[in-house]
């Protein structure tokens, strides 16, 4: 209390200066490590990065060589994910914004989506293992992994698509309907083109998320070591995040620079996607105004 009386004797402006300095310090404490982290990753990773690292298969128990099958596997996995999740998610979003009435069912769906987004990723992994790998007998495979990741990113795609669709002014729909367009024509010719940037942003964010997740593919798709490319969707694949986990914790006596380089490739891939999404959003926001 003594401290408080002392403090209250200071002029309000001095208090404000001290408080703002405190806020700035907190912000720096949160954000500076991020930049530091990036700097370290880039600094240490770039030296190990080379063309052969990106195009060679892992050798010597992953202690040397490259990560080519890992990168390709990630791309396949993510490609499959988006191919499944995007049509489903956009269709669900269209249903919710354009067709669904406000009733109990819609309310349940909305609650379901919110909760789907909050489910821990390892639980998705369990679900994928139980349903796709075991019950549907897809085995530990690219297909199982993509399906699992697709469910993981569905909420992202649905919510962002819903927002994008809802941001198309109601007056556009009215104008189109009043011109004698059917409901679907209105959606296809008028609503979707206007919502496309938002939907794309969501899709890209989903790709980034899918590319970075480890837990859901842990038991559904990821191979510990597979020095060649998968032959079919029923083969397991190597994936970057899982590979990083493996070389960071499971392989003793491995050179630090391979770890840093792998981490850098993963981060670059994921952040590249995010930046792309940010740029798209920024571009269209500017254009709309």
């Amino acid at each position: 209390m003594k401290f408080k009386t002392k403090l209250s004797r200071l002029s309000p402006n001095t208090v404000q200066k001290i408080a703002f300095a405190g806020l700035l310090a907190a912000t720096s404490l949160v954000l500076l490590p991020v930049l530091l982290l990036m700097a370290v990753l880039i600094g240490k990773g770039v030296t190990a990065l080379s063309w052969t690292f990106l195009t060679d298969i892992p050798r010597d128990g992953m202690r040397s060589g490259g990560i080519y099958p890992v990168i390709v596997g990630t791309c396949w996995l993510v490609g499959g994910t988006i191919a499944i999740a995007l049509p489903l998610g956009v269709a669900a979003a269209i249903y919710l914004t354009e067709y669904a009435r406000r009733n109990f069912l819609t309310w349940t769906i909305k609650l379901a989506i919110v909760n789907l987004a909050g489910v821990p990723s390892i639980v998705y992994g369990l679900f994928g293992l139980g349903l796709f790998v075991m019950l549907l007998r897809c085995g530990v495979s690219m297909l199982s992994g993509s399906l699992t990741l697709a469910i993981l990113v569905l909420p992202i795609i649905i919510t962002s698509s819903q927002e994008a669709l809802a941001s198309v002014p109601q007056s556009y729909r009215e104008a189109s309907l009043a011109l004698g367009a059917t409901r679907w024509q209105t959606i296809w010719h008028c609503v979707l083109p206007n919502a496309l940037p938002g939907i794309m942003t969501g899709a890209i964010l989903a790709i980034g998320r899918a590319a970075g997740e480890t837990a859901p593919i842990l038991f559904t798709a990821a191979a510990f070591y597979l020095p060649h490319l998968p032959n079919s969707v029923f083969d397991p694949v190597m994936a970057l995040p899982y590979h990083l986990y493996v070389i960071a914790t499971q392989i003793p006596n491995i050179g630090q620079d391979i770890r840093y380089a792998t981490a850098l490739v993963l981060v670059a891939m994921v952040l590249g996607m995010s930046f792309f999404a940010i740029i798209i959003r920024w571009h269209y926001r500017k254009k709309r105004c």
């Binding site: 208090v15 912000t27 679900f127 995040p241 993963l266």
Partner: protein
């Protein structure tokens, strides 16, 4: 002009499309139900051999002993410690950061700060785990003079960072959503910006901030990889943050690979999954409640 036939085809086509869209919507909801039902179904098999009380109250997690013991108290305590530690670090820092970005930072800096926060959100959790291993773990070991840095403390610190984007961006949004008229009214009465912040804006935004905290909490409890990589993975009941410990999530991730399918161990891991699902479900519903309250007022 469109012929009668063309019109009919159009009608049929639209009927099909609309039904397909409806089906997709249903599939999505079905997924959530399916996830929960699946977890329930798989974990229910466990309770043929183990009672619910033994599972929830048992202090020993010895899944491969003979006979095996499946008590999750150690894992729950581990999760609780790590989560608590992470929230203690993340809440003050995150809220301060949100306030700074929303109200104090000059406009041109604000955009960069938000960008950095989004950057943080995009970094995969394995990368956090990896960076945690090479930076935070040795740091914790040397600061506290421990035999190993792989402790709950390291986990909390990593998780605090991972919770930051959710916490900061949602809290910042809710602070910015406070009508500027409140601020103007307060400033017009001669209050300083800081007084206005503390007495008007932050209280007005508090439901949104609470929602942000809840969502961040959900994220922290559900986080798997990073935690698994830095907490040391000892399945004993910890007495403090400076010990190795193991969380619910890490247990599933670490052990599922080595279980025999459809064994009790396998089912026990699903039971943990169901438990996690329930915990996050409750947290989500709570934060949702805050958000709808904000919207109503």
């Amino acid at each position: 002009m469109s012929t009668k036939y063309g019109k009919l085809a159009r009608h049929i086509g639209e009927f099909v499309i609309e039904k397909m869209i409806f089906l997709s919507g249903l599939i999505t909801i079905a997924m959530v139900g399916l996830i929960f039902l699946f977890l329930l179904k798989e974990s229910s098999s466990l309770f043929d051999t183990v009672t619910l009380a033994e599972f929830l109250g048992g202090t020993h997690w010895y899944p491969i002993s003979d006979p095996p013991q499946f008590g999750v108290v150690a894992l729950l305590t581990g999760s609780a410690w790590v989560t608590l530690g992470a929230m203690v670090i993340a809440m003050p820092l995150g809220i301060a950061c949100a306030v700074y970005i929303a109200e104090v930072a000059p406009p041109f800096v604000r955009e960069y700060l938000k960008l950095t926060v989004e950057l943080l959100a995009a970094i995969p959790s394995v990368v956090f785990g990896f960076v945690g291993i090479v930076t935070i773990v040795p740091l914790v070991r040397s600061i506290f003079g421990l035999p190993t840095g792989l402790t709950g403390m390291a986990g909390s610190m990593v998780l605090a960072f991972m919770a930051m984007p959710t916490l900061v961006s949602i809290a910042e949004d809710s602070i910015r959503a406070v009508p500027s008229t409140y601020k103007e009214a307060s400033l017009a009465l001669g209050a300083t910006e800081w007084q206005t912040l503390m007495r008007v804006i932050v209280p007005a935004a508090s439901p949104g901030i609470a929602a942000a905290v809840m969502l961040a909490l959900g994220r922290v409890i559900g986080e798997t990889m990073a935690v698994m990589m830095v907490t040391g993975n000892a399945a004993v009941i910890p007495s403090g943050l400076l010990q190795p410990m193991r969380t619910l999530t890490a247990t599933i991730a670490a052990e599922m690979g080595e279980t025999v399918h459809h064994s009790d161990h396998y089912f026990a891991l699903f039971a943990i999954g169901a438990l996690l699902f329930l915990i996050t479900f409750v947290i989500n519903c709570l934060s949702n409640l805050f958000v709808t309250n904000v919207k109503k007022s």
